[in-house]
């Protein structure tokens, strides 16, 4: 299978990744190769086999009670933030 430049630009837009002009042909080539490679799966006789939902047989995702279990550590977490003010994360203006 072969992907076009437009396909790669669309995937990058969906993935919120800005690519440089030099990167685009590299990904056109390598993603085309990857999808040709994974295309091998089409030949697998999966019939009515159910998709795997958990790697351990018989187990499902555990749920927990909807209760507060962690203390508020906002100030600690915000030490890693690029830009904060008055306990808020700052981003470029969204609403004019």
């Amino acid at each position: 299978m072969s992907l076009s430049r437009a396909d790669i630009e669309n995937i990058a837009r969906l993935a919120r990744l800005e690519l440089t002009e030099a990167e685009i042909p590299v990904y056109v080539d390598s993603l085309s190769k990857i999808f040709a490679f994974v295309g091998e799966l089409d030949r697998a006789p999966t019939g009515d086999i159910a998709p795997m939902a958990h790697p351990l047989p018989g187990l499902a995702q555990r749920l927990r009670a909807d209760e507060v279990s962690e203390a508020n550590r906002r100030d600690t977490y915000q030490k890693n933030a690029p830009q904060v003010e008055a306990g808020l994360y700052l981003v470029p203006k969204v609403i004019e």
Partner: protein
């Protein structure tokens, strides 16, 4: 004190007998790390000061009496594990400035057992790679030949243990990232059953495959360290509620009557004939120890690499969506608007291989393609899992090679993703089925180590460690040290 020959087991005994203090031991390892860093680049962060403080605390606790058997033993963590107050980069520019506000459960467990953290080990960016060449902090070099890759993604862990600059290291395995570098560096690696060790605080790559484990000199060392890092953790929704056995208690058990299955598909045309010979020689040792050997087939196993390269990128694209340049991690300069902030922060912060996997995953999950790729891959995954289950009806453990060839030169496969992905052809199956796997050293080809892979049924870590330990009592491949680091 001679660091090179030391195992965790020997160091624990030496500390208990008062032959040296933890401070002396820690200082000796810090010196070895500093001396080897220019040649290997195994560490991203060396935490010398806090290591010496922790060592002094371990010595003080020992002087007062009751301490655990691992008290004061130095280890290092793969830089994928969050460590409170310490840089945690995951090998990425995206997290080059990230100081974790909390400890991973695995890190806390090993610290509570008394181990001393020497630092954080280099790795492929976000654990995506099989050669440790995708790290933002530069490649790690194989101590057996520094022109060669150490394998990946836990390349720093494997190289550091192989060079004996740390006694043992944590690692993670999503498609072979513990076993493959262990094989290429001539050390012991164990990936436990999915759900055995908590994933809390272990930076996520592909959540249905990721599992924490160890790289050590010996199976006995792995048995000593695995207990404190295993067990149920309410903070990881895939953590399994199941008692943790004492993995050291059964190490010396007899292998009489053990049935070993040789997976036909592991001995394919891609396997280097010299590697195959080392594997066959190792199997003969197990037969001498009383094991029976039979051939089994897992016919869907050859589909494991394409299955993995749908499932893992899909999960990676979801997990790495959290890196948005807002709450933590890299942010671009002067964003024009919110979309520009997201796209440029991510475009600049992620390296080439991580972007490739995010885009692969985004595509297979996008409208119109989900059934054809992701659901199809999850169906094939079920077939692969069923193949293993059938093999375990007639075998206790499955044996085969860990990797098709010994270590390859740095740069040799970097530009061709498919060739690179095929390095994990023998290891990925265990991840897809959630099974535990090990790699143990079993010889050399052209001066480079070869690894024997052991795959067991779910939660058979005790039996695997027992088999590996008995083999290591008969052989000394695991005790060989690269000449430059002896």
């Amino acid at each position: 004190m001679s660091a090179p020959a030391a195992t965790v087991a020997a160091l624990a005994k030496g500390l208990a007998a008062g032959e040296y203090s933890s401070v002396e031991l820690t200082r000796a390892y810090l010196e070895r790390i500093a001396a080897a860093q220019p040649a290997l680049n195994a560490f991203v962060t060396i935490t010398g000061e806090s290591a010496l403080a922790a060592a002094a605390a371990a010595d003080a606790a020992r002087a007062k009496g009751q301490v655990g058997r691992l008290a004061g033993v130095p280890i290092a963590h793969k830089d994928i594990f969050c460590t409170e107050g310490v840089l945690t980069t995951c090998g990425s520019k995206m997290l080059a400035n990230f100081v974790s506000p909390y400890d991973a459960t695995v890190v806390a467990g090993l610290r509570d057992a008394g181990t001393v953290m020497l630092g954080k080990l280099n790795m492929d960016e976000f654990a995506m790679g099989s050669s440790n060449e995708t790290s933002f902090f530069g490649p790690v070099h194989n101590p057996w030949d520094t022109k060669m890759v150490p394998g990946g993604s836990s390349g720093g862990s494997a190289a550091a243990v192989a060079a004996r600059i740390v006694p043992a290291a944590t690692a993670t395995d999503t498609g072979g990232s513990i076993r493959q570098p262990a094989a290429l560096c001539g050390v012991t690696g164990i990936k436990p059953t999915y759900g055995r060790c908590s994933r809390y605080g272990m930076i996520a790559f592909a959540s249905s495959l990721d599992q924490a484990g160890l790289i050590t000199v010996s199976a006995e060392d792995a048995a000593l360290l695995l207990g404190p890092m295993s067990g149920f953790d309410p903070r990881d929704s895939t953590s399994v509620e199941r008692a943790v056995p004492d993995y050291t208690a059964t190490l010396a058990d007899s292998l009489e009557g053990l049935t070993i299955g040789l997976v036909k598909e592991f001995f394919d045309k891609g396997l280097d004939a010299r590697n195959e010979q080392r594997i066959r020689d190792a199997i003969a040792v197990f037969e001498k120890l009383g094991a029976r050997v039979r051939e089994v087939s897992c016919p869907n196993l050859p589909l494991s690499v394409p299955t993995y390269y749908v499932v893992a990128p899909a999960e990676c694209s979801s997990n790495l969506a959290r890196f948005d340049g807002v709450r933590f991690g890299h942010r671009c300069e002067s964003p024009k608007n919110l979309l520009d902030l997201y796209c440029r922060s991510r475009g600049e912060g992620f390296g080439a291989e991580v972007k490739r996997r995010i885009m692969t995953g985004t595509y297979v999950l996008s409208a119109g393609y989900y059934d054809a790729y992701y659901l199809k891959a999850q169906r094939v995954r079920q077939l692969i899992s069923a193949d293993f289950a059938r093999a375990f009806d007639s075998c206790d453990l499955l044996f085969g090679p860990t990797s098709p060839t010994p270590a390859f030169p740095i740069g040799a496969k970097f530009d061709d993703p498919i060739t690179m992905y095929l390095n994990d052809i023998y290891t990925i199956g265990a991840n897809l089925a959630g099974l535990p796997g090990m790699s143990i050293p079993c010889g050399f080809v052209d001066g480079l180590p070869v690894g024997l892979q052991i795959v067991g049924p779910h939660f058979s870590e005790s039996r695997m460690l027992n088999a590996a330990h008995r083999y290591q009592q008969e052989t000394d491949w695991h005790l060989r040290v690269p000449a430059a680091f002896a």
